[in-house]
Amino acid sequence: MSDRKKLFIMLIPIALILIASVLWIILSHNGSPKSGYRVACIYQNGALTEEIRMDSLDQAIEKTIICDQGFNRVRIDKTSVSVFESDCPGKDCTAMGTVESEYRPISCLPHRLVVVIELRDSDPGLDGVAG
């Protein structure tokens, strides 16, 4: 076999290794910041039960969430979330009003419900709100 041919055969695995490495980098950085979007998240009893992408909403939607202790009615639109009706005793959730900030949860303790806006695939804005 000529020297040239031997060289060519040696280069094939090297090229494959290079290509594989580049592909690995591209695929493993799928968590890198991109232009993000906001989702309205509903947690019941600590578990995430629903996620709604807010920029996909042409008009506001309303959901009734029922638990053993009662109900909450939630409104979600392109920019905000709110709990506008509830049969819980304290009504802290409805008193919260309309929330537009991320990571500012609306909580209904008696019904163990949390409604919160979260960011996906983005450099986040605020990381939390105290108060």
């Binding site: 968590g31 163990r112 605020l126 939390g128 105290a130 108060g131």
Partner: protein, 336 residues
């Protein structure tokens, strides 16, 4: 000659491949959110870690610790360690966590001239705004409750790990400090798992580690006390607790008067001062919690004097007229 070229090329590409592999492995962090109900509120955590399994295990350990500490500090649970202390006479052996929290409360209580007082359990039970909103207690009952409080009625024996109440009608309530302490304990668990995160404990924030695992800081909002669904100001904060006390979260209104949940130990009624909300930042969440409550009750001038006794802690006071007082040098971005 071909052999030497081959050796050089393979060596070069191996080095390149290893370098590219390190590039691929670094900088990727996973995140997850979770919520749970404990300490009379909803806790909401945003966690960052190296992989999903680590974060999942972290979530389980955080949940376990919340549940454990609730059995220590709960005023409402009949079989909590705190309730056992409140129902017993003489020295009672208690978990070290109760002694830790009481020491912080006693220190802040003494320096605040009694504005923070964890011995007003009878008074809190009388008002109990969360479960009994809309009812103003009778003045006679308030005075009876006030007759049985005072931090000098707590005796701590650290060597024996016991606490005694010298007045059997005096009840200890740790609501002004316990959530901050919870955040402080949970923070260590987050860091021990090699993770970072933001723990929202019913409005108390505990920031754990750094945002990107290196040294990036967190962006934190302070709720607008005049419009609580909005953000009044933003801060950039590292690994610290941020605790805000205000009258807008738990209250009821009766005949045009707002009755909120932060009681003044001197009057027995919801406190009144020139402060709309008091935020304290610092390394220990329990101290932040105690200080923010005391500051809210004291008012601006005495609050600033109080914080001066804690050099590692900073404050942001939003006053009733909308103006702001903050620690010198604190970078605050106020929303228009």
């Amino acid at each position: 000659m071909v052999k030497s070229i081959w050796i050089r090329m393979v060596s070069l590409l191996c080095i390149l491949g290893i370098g590219l592999s390190f590039c691929a492995c670094s900088g990727t962090r996973r995140s997850a959110s979770m919520s749970l109900s404990a300490f009379g509120t909803i806790l909401y955590f945003t966690l960052y870690g190296p992989d999903s399994q680590t974060i999942e295990k972290l979530g389980q350990d955080l949940r376990k610790e919340c549940e454990r500490l609730e059995t220590v500090f709960s005023f409402e649970l009949d079989d909590s360690d705190l309730s056992r202390l409140n129902l017993s006479e003489g020295p009672v052996k208690v978990p070290s966590e109760i002694i830790d929290v009481l020491k912080i409360a006693l220190d802040v209580g003494q320096k605040s001239g009694g504005a923070l007082d964890v011995t007003i359990g009878s008074l809190i039970k009388l008002w109990h705004i969360e479960t009994n909103p809309g009812v103003v207690p009778d003045e006679k009952d308030i005075q009876t409750a006030l007759a049985h409080h005072g931090m000098d009625r707590i005796v701590i024996d650290e060597a024996q790990r016991t606490v005694s109440r010298t007045d059997p009608d005096m009840l200890i309530h740790l609501g002004a400090v316990a959530k901050g302490y919870l955040g402080y304990r949970l923070r260590q668990i987050v860091l021990d798992h090699g993770c970072s995160g933001v723990l929202n404990l019913g409005g108390n924030l505990q920031l754990c580690g750094s945002k990107d695992g290196a040294d990036a800081k967190w962006r934190v909002g302070i709720a607008d006390p005049f419009s609580p669904e909005d953000v009044f100001a933003e801060l950039t904060v590292g690994d610290a607790a941020v605790v805000t006390s205000g009258a807008y979260a738990r209250f009821f209104e009766l005949n045009g008067v707002r009755y909120h949940h932060i009681l003044d130990p001197k009057t027995g009624y919801p406190s009144e001062s020139d402060i709309a909300s008091a935020t304290v930042l610092g390394p220990d969440g329990a101290v932040c919690d105690a200080l923010s409550t005391a500051c809210f009750i004291l008012g601006k001038d005495e609050a600033i004097n109080l914080i001066a006794a804690y050099p590692a802690y900073s404050y942001l006071l939003i006053l009733q007229d909308g103006s702001v007082e903050a620690t010198d040098g604190m970078e605050v971005f106020i929303h228009e």
